[in-house]
Symmetry: C2
Subunit: 217 residues, 2 copies
């Protein structure tokens, strides 16, 4: 791996495990056993590293949240969405922990995030409509926009919520699965009788994962 990519990977790892605000470029260089001068040859400051990570984040979001195809079955649509949410929260948890601050200090990222946000809103909206068309859920179409916003907020601020609600809330797999269970509950009241058992199965599976149990694929 090129030094530049190693710096980015190490930064993501350190930001995620120690919190972005506690990690300096010196920490990153020392973690990689390279000189600060070598790091500064590739990036002029931490902000520039974060911008590169943000580009990776944007790519990740574009790829992992694939558009729903009309042929997909409902369970696949939902579990694909949950997997994509899990992977975004897992790989970029420091961003979710510190979003308002990172946005506030860099207008360029702020604008980039706006674009990602709008695309994600479209995808969640499309997901809800697909579930409605497939008769998996039945809800007032006037409420779809609001539900999409609630889901988006629930996912985006889940990590911040956990970190402010209890001390030492490390971002573990279990913590993320617990967040997915909240999203399942948001869908649950709208599930049609035909799909009640399916949703209960999905819910039971994530409840086991959230409790730290291993689950057969």
């Amino acid at each position: 791996m090129k030094t530049k990519d190693r710096i980015i990977e190490a930064s993501i790892e350190l930001f995620n495990s120690q919190g972005e605000r506690n990690v300096t470029t010196n920490h990153i260089a020392s973690h990689l056993n390279i000189s600060p001068g070598n790091l500064y040859y590739h990036f002029s400051n931490k902000e520039e590293i974060i911008r590169h990570i943000f580009t990776k984040y944007a790519d990740h979001m574009a790829i992992s949240f694939e558009p729903v195809k009309p042929s997909q079955d409902a369970v696949k649509i939902l579990t694909n969405y949950f997997d994509a949410v899990f992977s975004a929260l897992y790989h970029f948890n420091f961003l979710y922990d510190n979003l308002p601050v990172i946005m506030a200090r860099d207008p360029e990222l702020r604008a980039q995030f706006g674009v990602i946000h709008n695309k994600m809103m479209e995808k969640i909206h499309h997901l809800i409509v697909s579930l409605q068309v497939a008769n998996v859920i039945n809800m007032d179409t006037n409420d779809i926009d609001d539900l999409a916003n609630i889901i988006k907020q629930q996912v985006t601020f889940w990590i911040s919520y956990c970190k402010t609600s209890s001390e030492n809330a490390d971002v573990t797999d279990e913590l993320i699965y617990n967040g997915l269970l909240k999203v399942i509950l948001l869908f649950k009241p709208y599930i049609t009788s035909e799909y009640k058992d399916t949703i209960n199965d999905i819910s039971t599976r994530y409840r086991a994962l959230a409790a730290g149990k291993t689950v057969e694929e």
Copy 2:
């Protein structure tokens, strides 16, 4: 008003309107036409001002979220809750905009917030159970804890969500009413047929307020 109280009031006002991170003790002193030395006579730094504001916040939360009395009717229970949420978001919006950061840099506030958080969770839990007992809502009792958490997160991070989702999202009455509508939607699927009209009326009222219209009391 004593200078100490004037400093606190001016700080809340400036933090809310300009963002806590953009306001220094010098800005506060200049806004009040007092010398920085006079301000430092009362508070040794910005952190100490924020701690005083936080105590006011804790008092506000304790008073405005009154416990539900068994004699109260369902509409009163819900609208009291919405009024209390509105007033907390309105008066202390800078805290909600910057919660993870403020908590991260001051362990004392972090611990204080933990106590407030737990009390609020109890109150929301109690609110949901009261609505269930009064037959206003009908939901699986196993889901009550998760719904309480979702509502708490929705309220706590509504302002951060708006500020990260769109540029120049000023905290106006309309923005807060829009947040209350999301909380109403969270209750809506569980409302019993007996109370459908009541909830629709409440929802219509807040929809008008969120659109900037005046509404008769």
